[in-house]
């Protein structure tokens, strides 16, 4: 048998052995047996000494080819077996991915905070400053400076908790606005403030009344602020909280600190304006009060109403939350039942 034939035989036998090796160990054994220093191919190469010099390169080249072929087959087989082993392991490691994960406990913001934060962000984007007034306020600032002198009939609209004759729990966050007006330097630009916070009214708690609730009041004063600006601003508020598809309409109303005064309704989100029980068949829901700042309010803060004017608005986050989420009892906001609080997932 020529060396070439011998190599061919070794090659075919080797390839068959490699193919039949079903575990890595056998592959390794085949490699040692065939390609090792004492293996048959080495043997064949040793036998090249006996060949004619001109034959040697030819046989040598063929031997290398056979060896490479075998080496490749071994590598390939090894990889196949390794992959099969990995696959087997992976198959054994299969998990039920629908089992719950180990959650890291997460708290969440109160739904009223969510609404306040959303509006704060909206108004800061329009250049408003956020102002936090005191919750215990003087009658003078809470009422008189807002054009509500003692014995004004509109005071009946706001039953008040008094500490003394002259000190009270604020009934509206606009109680801080006279101070904002007094302290503002108009040479540095317009006054634009938003006052969110807790307010108090002398009410008996029930499903629709709470002695403690929240308000967000806005105030803008500059040389040229119009009622159209108020309408545009309120539309933006409604669209932010309820969605773009909602319309805003203004109706005449009365607040002592604004003139003209309006009430703003938005399209009933429940029936889209068709009329339902929530909107008492009107298609509209009253959401906030607003108006153009009353000249007396400006005068009392030392601002010339002939030069400056502005608008003010006030809305109740509690009422907004009740409308938006269909909450039927305002007390839910202050009892802090975790089954209630956890229903309102949202950014903080």
């Amino acid at each position: 048998m020529s060396l070439q034939d011998r190599l061919t035989e070794l090659r075919d036998q080797g390839l068959a052995d490699i193919k039949s090796a079903d575990v890595l160990k056998k592959v390794n054994q085949v490699k040692v047996d065939l390609l090792g220093k004492k293996g048959p191919i080495t043997e064949v190469l040793r036998g090249m000494r006996d060949l004619a010099p001109e034959e040697r390169p030819k046989v040598g080249a063929y031997a290398n080819e056979v060896r490479d072929r075998l080496q490749n087959a071994i590598d390939q087989r090894r990889e196949e077996l390794e992959q099969a082993a990995v696959n087997k392991q992976l198959a054994a490691e299969k998990l039920d991915v629908t089992l719950p994960g180990r959650e890291i406990p997460q708290g969440q913001p109160h739904v009223i905070t969510q609404i306040i934060t959303e509006l704060e962000d909206l108004f800061m984007g329009m250049g408003y400053q956020i102002v936090d007034g005191d919750e215990v306020e003087e009658d003078y600032y809470n009422f008189e400076r807002l054009n509500l002198p003692k014995d004004h009939p509109a005071r009946d609209m706001q039953d008040t908790f008094y500490i003394t004759k002259d000190v009270l729990l604020r009934t509206q966050t606009s109680a801080d606005q006279p101070r904002s007006l007094e302290n503002h330097d108009f040479s540095k630009g317009p006054l634009k403030v938003l006052s969110p916070g807790r307010v108090y009214r002398r009410d008996t708690d029930d499903a629709t009344h709470s002695h403690q609730f929240h308000q967000i009041e806005g105030l803008v004063v500059d040389k040229h602020i119009t009622m159209a600006d108020l309408k545009g601003t309120l539309t933006l508020v409604a669209n932010t909280l309820f969605g773009d598809q909602f319309d805003v309409r203004l109706r005449p109303s009365y607040f002592p600190f604004t003139e003209p005064s309006v009430e703003a309704d938005v399209t009933c989100f429940n029936c889209n304006g068709k009329g339902c029980a929530i909107c008492k068949q009107t298609g509209w829901i009253e959401v906030l009060g607003a108006g153009m700042v009353h000249p007396h309010v400006l005068e009392m803060s030392g601002i010339d109403p002939e030069v400056y004017g502005g608008f003010a608005f006030g809305l109740g986050p509690d009422r907004f939350a009740m409308l938006k989420y269909g909450v039927d009892d305002i007390r839910n906001f202050y009892l802090n039942d975790v089954r209630f609080l956890s229903q309102f997932y949202k950014k903080g």
Binding site: P105, Q108, Y128, K231
Partner: protein, 805 residues
């Protein structure tokens, strides 16, 4: 204010559905609560004529009637009303009719006698009991003789009217009258209203001023106008049905012809009027003054009232006979026996009336109008209208002349405004003509000079006195829908949170990511709870006149409210609760009523914060969990001074062995720990861990300057030490000593084990720490570290008696 649309048609041509009218009023003037249709849902209720009326054979009070209801055969109806009689026209609910509030009437038998329907009283047709005339309150209602049997009954009773129920704001007192509402609608629909006229005949031979002497002692501010008329020889009887209908559709009860006439004119003109029985006045003397302390008056409702010095009184020879503008006195009430009437038309101060109504809890149609103001220009006209009406309805005569206690010169107000100011405020481009037309529709006489309007505001619109009021009139009649929607222009401003607001917002997020959910509790609580958990001793701020004993005092801590929240949850079987609150506490300040308002942040956890799941057990919360939350939070505030926790027994509501005061540097900023078992019992909560932090103080404290530190290129070396040490020695003591003796290269000390189980002698514990050494600038030499470490070990042994293991 209930506005009858049928009555409105006396004033205006209104071919408009009531709902549309209501909507227009709401969009242009005042809020509307709804449209009332008294006959709504009622069917087959007709006029019946009682042909015969015989006693029921088996009853001593029932009658069996044969009733003509306009059909071929009369119906047999059993009736139990005491006033039923043959010859009457009555209200008949036919078989299968619907009456009142969804009641169906069927054929039935009453004590064995067939009854085909029902003869009805007014309340059975849905009339409010308060509106039913007293004389028919206990029986059926008798319809007029000319009513046609078989006709639907609703037209005869004014029940086919549509009534707009308006909620009038305090500034629009003018709309608390038919006249005012008609003026308003005339402006809206651009019509000229037909206003009522007064046809008064005075008896020239009978001079009122000879018989009635009126004197006003109160000042002009309290009583700007006081006038009376005298009506003689009246016969008191029920009013005609048309008047009763107008009265009850306006939401009042028909009483008698005299009272109904005053109420009718009240509704027309918005002017309260009061009728006195002239014969009960002493010598025909009337005087008006403020009450004196200790005086009493029994009012029409039979209540004996102690009067206050702020009450305005009508007196007769100085004896109180009426609370001015609020309620009459019983003694001078008009009764069936009354023959002569002294009729008052007056103006009283709004604030005085408001006080009287409030103090005596007497809110009447009259007081409501005086509080909001009335048309001073119409007082005498209304007085005349009522006098004429009383005379006509009662067969009496009006004595000659008005008795004037005080008169007032009522002048219209003139207000000037320019077109450009209107457009400037509204953001519109209205033309001169558009605005002029609005003033014309309002019937405000106006002259125009250049672009300045000089507007004469009639006395019926006393709410208008400055230019802004006119802008409102223009805006609402032009229509708010027609205003453009824009955003403020002008110099831009920066809107951003200040540092305090930003830290408060960040703090909330940090608490939430630590697993605590935000609670908002009540600021008002009981005095005991308000004082509990106070960080610093303080007096409390109390309400002058609380609504309930549960809400009397402003809180000094947030934890107290959070425990109430936990109790609420526990009572509802929610035992795993982790809440935080951010809000104000109220420290009283010396010499000041207003407390100092301080922002706090507090948390309370109970049960397990880890949800029980497959392969995960609940982990009952403990001291170190809440401390970990606090420590993580304080770390992220990057405070400059170090935070330390010092065991304290100073908080009586807290566990004495499991509570630490929290210091930043040497400033006390809060506490953390387990609540005392007694506190848990009192609040009805389980084992609970809490913290309370003075956020205002934390915000004010200096923050660490943040500066990049190069990360050392040189490796660190660690050494572990385990020691047996007395139980009384704290971790803080050990760490402080290690840091003190650790040398220049000691970087950190980490506690990795605490053990005081069975293998440790009693009174001792085992602590183990990892000390990490690193040199920023060079590779540490092992021998140097060993030398430094040995110093620590010997210090621990010598100074703390540690036994190194």
């Amino acid at each position: 204010m209930r506005i009858s649309t049928a009555w409105l048609k006396d004033y205006l041509k209104l071919d408009i559905p009531a709902d549309e009218l209501a909507e227009k009023i709401e969009r242009t003037a005042v809020e509307v609560d709804g449209v009332i249709r008294p006959d709504e849902g009622q069917k087959k209720v007709v006029v019946g004529h009682i042909l015969t009326c015989d006693p029921h054979p088996d009853s001593d009070h029932l009658h069996v009637c044969s009733v003509d209801v306009g059909e071929d055969e009369p119906l047999q109806i059993v009736c139990g009303a005491p006033n039923v009689a043959a010859g009457q026209n009555v209200i008949v609910a036919l078989p299968n009719s619907w009456i009142g509030n969804h009641t169906k009437i069927k054929k039935s038998k009453m004590r064995g006698v067939k009854s085909a329907g029902m003869i009805c009283a007014l309340d059975e047709l849905g009339f409010d009991e308060k509106l039913v005339p007293k004389e028919v309150a206990d029986g059926i209602f008798i319809l007029p003789d000319d009513a046609t049997p078989g006709d639907p009954v609703f037209g005869y009773l004014g029940m086919d009217d549509e009534i707009i129920d308006m909620s009038v704001t305090p500034n629009r007192g003018d709309m608390l009258s038919m006249n005012g509402t008609a003026h308003e609608l005339a402006a809206i629909y651009d019509q000229t209203p037909t206003m009522p006229t007064v046809d008064l005949h005075e008896d020239e031979s009978d001079d009122a001023n000879d018989q009635l002497e009126v004197r006003v002692d109160a000042d002009e501010h309290d009583v700007p106008m006081y006038k009376m008329r005298l009506i003689k020889n009246v016969t008191i009887k029920p009013s005609p049905l048309w008047l009763q209908i107008r009265i009850w559709n306006a939401g009042m009860r028909p009483i008698n012809n005299v009272v109904d006439a005053t109420n009718y004119v009240l509704m027309q003109y918005g002017q309260p009027l009061h009728a006195f029985d002239y014969d009960k006045l002493t010598n025909g003397h009337v005087n008006v003054r403020l009450a004196k302390a200790g005086e009493h008056l029994t009012t029409l409702d039979g209540e004996d009232r102690e009067l206050l010095p702020t009450d305005l009184l009508i007196c007769s020879d100085d004896t109180p006979i009426c609370l001015a503008g609020t309620m009459g006195g019983l003694d001078t009430e008009v009764t069936a026996a009354t023959t002569d009437i002294a009729l008052e038309g007056a103006v009283f101060d709004a604030v005085k009336i408001r006080k009287t109504a409030h103090n005596h809890d007497l809110h009447s149609e009259a007081s409501m109008r005086y509080e909001r103001g009335i048309d001073h220009g119409m007082t005498e006209t209304a007085l005349n209208a009522a006098a004429a009406m009383i005379a006509e309805l009662s067969g009496g005569t009006v004595a000659n002349g008005v008795c004037v206690g005080r008169d007032e010169d009522v002048q219209p107000v003139t207000v000037q405004i320019t077109l450009s100011k209107i457009n400037h405020v509204l953001g519109t481009e209205l033309s001169l003509d558009t605005v002029a037309d609005i003033f014309k529709r309002l019937d405000f006489p106006t002259t125009l000079t250049g672009e300045t309007y000089t507007v004469t505001v009639p006395s019926r619109r006393w709410d208008i006195h400055i230019p802004a009021d006119l802008i409102e009139e223009v805006a609402r009649l032009y229509g708010y829908d027609n205003l453009p929607a824009t955003l403020p222009t002008g110099q831009p401003t920066i809107g951003k949170l200040n540092e305090t607001q930003q830290i408060i917002r960040d703090s909330r997020k940090l608490m939430e990511s630590a697993g605590l959910t935000q609670a908002i509790s009540y600021s008002l609580t009981t005095e005991a709870k308000a004082k509990a958990f106070a960080l610093h001793p303080s007096d409390v701020t109390k309400l002058d006149f609380p609504m309930s004993s549960e809400r009397t005092t402003l809180r000094l801590s947030l934890v107290s409210g959070l425990l109430d929240d936990l109790a609420y949850n526990n009572a509802r079987k929610e035992h795993n609760v982790a809440l935080y609150e951010e809000g104000r506490v109220f420290y009283s300040q010396p010499e000041q009523v207003r407390p100092k308002e301080i922002e706090h942040i507090a948390g309370a956890i109970t049960g397990s914060m880890v949800k029980k799941s497959w392969g995960v057990a609940e982990q009952p919360v403990d001291f170190y969990q809440i401390k970990g939350i606090v420590a993580g939070y304080l770390k992220s505030l990057a405070l400059e001074a170090p935070v330390s926790y010092v065991a304290t027994t100073a908080h009586p509501e807290m566990h004495p062995g499991r509570t630490a005061n929290i210091f930043v540097g040497d400033q006390l900023v809060g506490f953390v720990g387990e609540i005392h078992p007694n506190t848990a019992k009192a609040y009805k909560v389980r084992e609970t861990y809490v913290f309370e932090l003075d956020l205002t103080a934390l915000i004010a404290l200096p923050k660490a300057r943040q500066q990049y530190q190069p990360i050392s290129k040189f490796p660190s070396i660690t050494r572990d030490v385990a020691m047996l040490i007395d139980d009384t020695v704290t971790n803080a003591d050990v760490v402080a000593l290690i840091n003190k003796k650790g040398g220049a290269h000691l970087q950190s000390v980490e506690l990795f084990d605490v053990y005081n189980g069975s293998h440790v002698p009693s009174g001792k514990k085992s602590l183990a720490y990892t000390l990490t050494y690193r040199d920023q600038n060079a590779t540490l030499v092992d021998d140097d570290v060993t030398a430094a470490f040995d110093k620590v070990l010997s210090a621990l042994t010598e100074e703390l008696g540690a036994e190194i293991r």
